[in-house]
């Protein structure tokens, strides 16, 4: 479940970023609103960058033994 949430959030973050840039570009917002949008956008880019670097390369082999999932390094 946690995996799914994180994935969703990254995609949502990118989508929201796109929205924010578009909104900011329109110039239809008050200065305060624009500043808030900008701050939110910067937070989102930071978040996405963190997400990207959050992974650690692992290649494993899964076997279910007696109803338990055993994860071992995969030897090529």
């Amino acid at each position: 479940m946690a995996t799914k949430e994180t994935k969703k959030t990254y995609e949502e973050a990118m989508k929201r970023l796109e929205e924010i840039v578009e909104k900011l570009d329109s110039g239809e917002f008050t200065l305060d609103e624009s500043m808030d949008l900008f701050k939110e956008g910067v937070e989102l880019t930071k978040f996405c960058n963190e997400k990207l670097n959050d992974y650690e390369k692992t290649i494993t082999k899964l076997v279910e033994k007696q109803g338990e999932l055993v994860e071992e390094p995969f030897d090529e």
Binding site: T3, K7, F74
Partner: protein
């Protein structure tokens, strides 16, 4: 005679006869394991799983039985109307004395059994909607972990690992090794898909197999594999065989990749592209904010440039000019009025002058007034003899007494 027959040694029971025929036919090698070609008719599946049908051609027909165990080995669905070649043995049902063929194997006529099985399975699952676009799940942009169902040996898994890690340096791959062909292979593939779903530890699954013959790839045409892919809550990319090979698994999968390498490309974004994308968003944000501020600034400048802010005294000046003008007008009106009054006055005073008795007096006339009554005497009728009168002249007055009165006293 009947009795004669009864005592005749040549008389046999029905059972003996039928059993004899049965043994006779079953011991004839020509009738055992014989290949027969014909059309299936009256095909019916019994409750215990055995199958009964009639095999026929234009001129003849024969009843057939296919045991459940034989039926299970046939990949395609036999059905009425299908031309088949069977390998069968002739037998007789003792109870009815009827001749039957016991089917040992069956192949569709003309087309291979596996091909027919493929077509049939494809048609069946398509009808059920397993290939419908609306069930296709989107492939995640950034999978946290990708599950791989394939053989643990060979180039396929190596290609997937290489392409994945080359594109995305932090790739997380979880591999469930399976047999990709042969007995039990389909079950292993289906189980692997189910296992990922059970533990929900990946957010994308790749099912892959290298190239091979139609028969080699057949596990991926099995219903159990199709069902497991369709039931998967996790998106599935299939990459079975070469680009030209299509399996049922490919139709059910959320995305078909032409090769295992292509599957890895679909699964993992290029790390540097994502970094670049985030960076460009960051730039766009700054640029947009700058734009936004400069728009606001222009708006502010526009307002500041409005004359009321630029020349705030304008209003006062304008008002005072108006007052001045009003005063000017007021003054002009006043003067006009005065002049008109003056002209009227001078005209009136001229007239008055002309009428003044003093002017008349100046010319030497006098005015008589009754001394007692103070009234002017305008006619002899008002005069009486001995009446005291006052005569008003231009420079004074004289008191006098009337001595004589002449005239009519009628005025004019």
């Amino acid at each position: 005679m009947a009795t004669n027959y009864n005592s005749n040694n040549n008389v046999v029971t029905v059972s003996r006869l039928v059993n004899y025929i049965k043994k006779y036919l079953e011991s004839n090698n020509l009738l055992q394991g014989v290949s027969v070609k014909g059309e299936i008719s009256n095909y019916r599946l019994s409750q215990n799983g055995h199958v009964y049908f009639t095999l026929k051609d234009a001129d003849a027909s024969i009843d057939c039985t296919m045991w459940k165990s034989t039926r299970a080995k046939i990949k395609f669905e036999p059905e009425t109307g299908l031309m088949v070649v069977v390998s069968a043995s002739v037998t007789v049902y003792v109870a009815s004395g009827k001749m039957h063929l016991i089917i040992e194997s069956m192949e569709p006529d003309g087309i291979g059994g596996l091909h027919l099985a493929f077509e049939q399975m494809k048609a069946k699952l398509e009808k059920e909607g397993l290939f419908d676009e609306r069930y296709k799940k989107p492939i995640p942009t950034l999978p946290k972990a990708v599950g791989v169902v394939t053989s643990p040996t060979g180039s396929v898994i190596r290609d997937i690992i290489n392409v994945s890690t080359r594109r995305f340096k932090n790739a997380v791959l979880k591999i469930i090794p399976v047999a990709v062909q042969g007995e039990g292979s389909a079950e292993q593939v289906a189980n692997a898909v189910n296992l990922f779903n059970k533990y929900n530890n990946v957010d994308l699954i790749i099912i892959a197999r290298g190239g091979g013959s139609f028969e080699d790839l057949f596990s991926f045409n099995e219903e159990i594999v199709a069902r497991s892919i369709f039931a998967s809550k996790i998106p599935v990319i299939s990459a079975i065989g070469h680009e030209t090979d299509f399996t049922i698994a490919d139709f059910v999968a959320d995305r078909r990749a032409p090769t295992p390498s292509a599957a890895a490309e679909l699964a993992f974004p290029v790390f540097d592209d994502l970094v670049e994308q985030i960076h460009s968003f960051d730039l766009a944000l700054r640029r947009s904010l700058k734009n936004s501020i400069s728009i606001k600034r222009r708006q502010l400048e526009h307002v500041q440039n409005a004359s009321c802010f630029k020349y705030p005294l304008n209003i006062v000046m304008q008002e005072s000019r108006q007052i001045e003008q009003l005063m000017k007008r007021l003054g002009m009106l006043g003067r006009n009025r005065l002049e008109r009054a003056r002209a009227t006055l001078s005209k009136n005073s001229g007239q008055l002058n002309a009428l003044s008795p003093l002017t008349v007096l100046a010319r030497g006339y006098g005015v008589l007034t009754d001394k007692e009554m103070g009234k002017p005497i305008l006619s002899v009728a008002q005069a009486k003899k001995g009446q005291k009168i006052e005569v008003l002249l231009k420079d004074g007055s004289i008191d006098a007494t009337i001595d004589e009165i002449r005239g009519t006293g009628n005025g004019n």
